[in-house]
Assembly symmetry: C2
Homo-oligomer: 326 residues x 2
DNA sequence: CTGAAAGCGCTTACAG
DNA sequence: CTGAAAGCGCTTACAG
């Protein structure tokens, strides 16, 4: 079923059908009605491929996340969706699983003109293989950074947040603060680790133990904590870079027969709903999650509408939330 | 940058460039190399819109979920992705938020030929507005059913699982079993409620209280439980149709100063990781989550490759998991 | 082994 | 207010 057949059915030209489809009001009422009738009668649906090929505009934004199971990601996506919708854009979500082949395949949607721009929450900038797929297409990094700053980014000041946590834990009298970090290919992981190391050094504390979680989930948090508990010198506090990891840490600690926060304090990161579900509830850094998503869309649309505009860096505020775990 | 320009650069016809792009091996080595060089030199990326318009095949599957924040959905999606990837397909995820306008917009990807088929985890079949968008395009309902059975479905036997839970709770001596269900526009919600009602009636138990959660999340579970606790006759057991709701129930019960399972037993549904995170850990029904996703893809591809084939209903096994909450 | 040409289904100046 | 025609960027018989 094509515009051709509708035109034939309605006894008008394809141009007129197209005008009706696009709500161009120069069409005479009678003709409009006949087209509308023909469309209804034949259950015609316009071919988006043809339309977008012609107009070179898709109205779709690609969102690449490494892992939708992480509630933080899901919350950011919600912000993205809300703002995109408000501006007449639709979201396509791709779960990269941090897999380069899958990321590559997703980005073909961009280079292949199926989407108008991309918001990524993954460590793409470290992957030169992907650069030529992105080219200078509209792109913003969300809750992650790009060193070259050739791309717009939105996030929080990770170093400061990290330093704040260390200060807080030291103030509570903790002596041996361990960190459960994410893969260092993520820039935010570097920054949070920097804050951790710097602040401990400044305070003359030389206990420093860092584990790197393969994934930001409960299981990784649990097994990395088990590692920490097997080490010679136990930590008396754990700073996990995501609430999901922190939830895993709590489990491991409980399974070892230890108490939180008495024996070991645990601090999470993100401020997701998980912080209410765990026992004890999580002390954590709250990110302005949906706001990050909204801001990302704003920056992306600015770039789409004015391709010549300069990349922008947007830094939003975080908030420390004290609950029972530390 | 188009195939035309590459052809000009390489001094061959567009047909030859196309052949190189599609790995058709009739191209003479010299020409192939010149095309490859031209592609590299100009960082050419094929336009997917044009290709797919021409071939009428996209290699993409649309997955519609009502809420990616639900870990059950995320797990099913993982199964879908794995199986799709194995068959050379790529996934596009759309988060409908149970919003009809958004669902409609997503389904245009199907009617607009941008994807080859759709797997939905949402209650679409109850929405006649969407039927004409789907038409007879390849479609499978995942963890949800269609009465007309004009569509393939994959899921578990919800009635049986529900009856099992009731039996278990009665056996434990529970007298007043309440249910926190989801919106009845979901067929699975109907089935589980049917199991609940039927079994209670069969056992001569006439306490029956049902709350309907607006969303399958922690917050809804919590507030519906608060409602239950305000009612005249408190339940001594709560059957929640998802682990997320059950997690909310646990919070509300703890906040009311009551103990689980001593005062109130709680049973969840799905068998997600959340069941390990809550305190106490959740007694729940485990669904074969990733398997459901894989099976959905299998059925969908069968339909795509043989459009004339009949819809199939696939019923997988569930498992009762006893943990501390009931 | 290769190229000219048709065509996928749209939109959009342009002319009337 | 409307239609004929060009063209978006590909693929694919067809002829050579």
């Amino acid at each position: 079923m094509s515009i051709q057949k509708i035109a034939r059915l309605a006894g008008v030209s394809v141009a007129t059908v197209s005008r009706v489809l696009n709500n161009i009001d120069t069409v005479k009422a009678g003709n409009r009605q006949r087209v509308l009738d023909a469309i209804k009668a034949s259950n015609y649906q316009p071919n988006l491929l043809a339309r977008q090929l012609r107009t070179a505009r898709s109205g779709m934004l690609l969102v690449m996340v490494s892992n939708i199971s992480n509630p933080f990601c899901a919350d950011v996506v919600q912000g993205i969706e809300a703002e995109a919708e408000k501006n007449g854009y639709r979201i396509l979500l791709c779960n990269s699983g941090s897999d380069i082949v899958r990321s590559q395949s997703s980005l073909q949607l961009l280079s292949g003109k199926m989407v108008d721009g991309v918001i990524s929450m993954d460590a793409l900038s470290t992957l030169p293989e992907l650069q030529n797929l992105i080219g200078d297409a509209p792109w913003v990094q969300c809750a992650e950074y790009d060193d070259a700053s050739a791309v717009s980014t939105v996030g929080i000041n990770d170093i400061e947040a990290s330093r704040f946590i260390i200060d807080y834990l030291l103030q509570q009298g903790r002596q041996r603060i361990a960190m459960i970090n994410h893969d260092l290919s993520y820039k935010y992981a570097n920054l949070r680790e920097k804050g951790y190391r710097e602040r401990l050094a400044e305070r003359g504390n030389d206990y420093c133990q860092i584990r790197y979680a393969a994934k930001l989930n409960y299981d990784s948090g649990k097994s990395e904590t088990e590692h920490l508990l097997r080490s010679a010198e136990w930590p008396d506090a754990i700073f996990a870079v995501s609430d999901t990891l922190a939830a895993g840490a709590l489990s491991a600690i409980a399974a070892a027969g230890l108490k939180v926060p008495e024996d070991i304090a645990v601090v999470g990161f993100d401020g997701t709903e998980l912080g209410f579900i765990t026992t004890p509830q999580l002390t954590t850094i709250e990110q302005p999650t949906t706001e990050i998503g909204k801001q990302a869309v704003t920056l992306l649309l600015r770039k789409i509408n004015d391709p010549g505009s300069k990349p922008e860096q947007s830094i939003l505020d975080w908030r420390f939330i004290q609950r029972a775990s530390a």
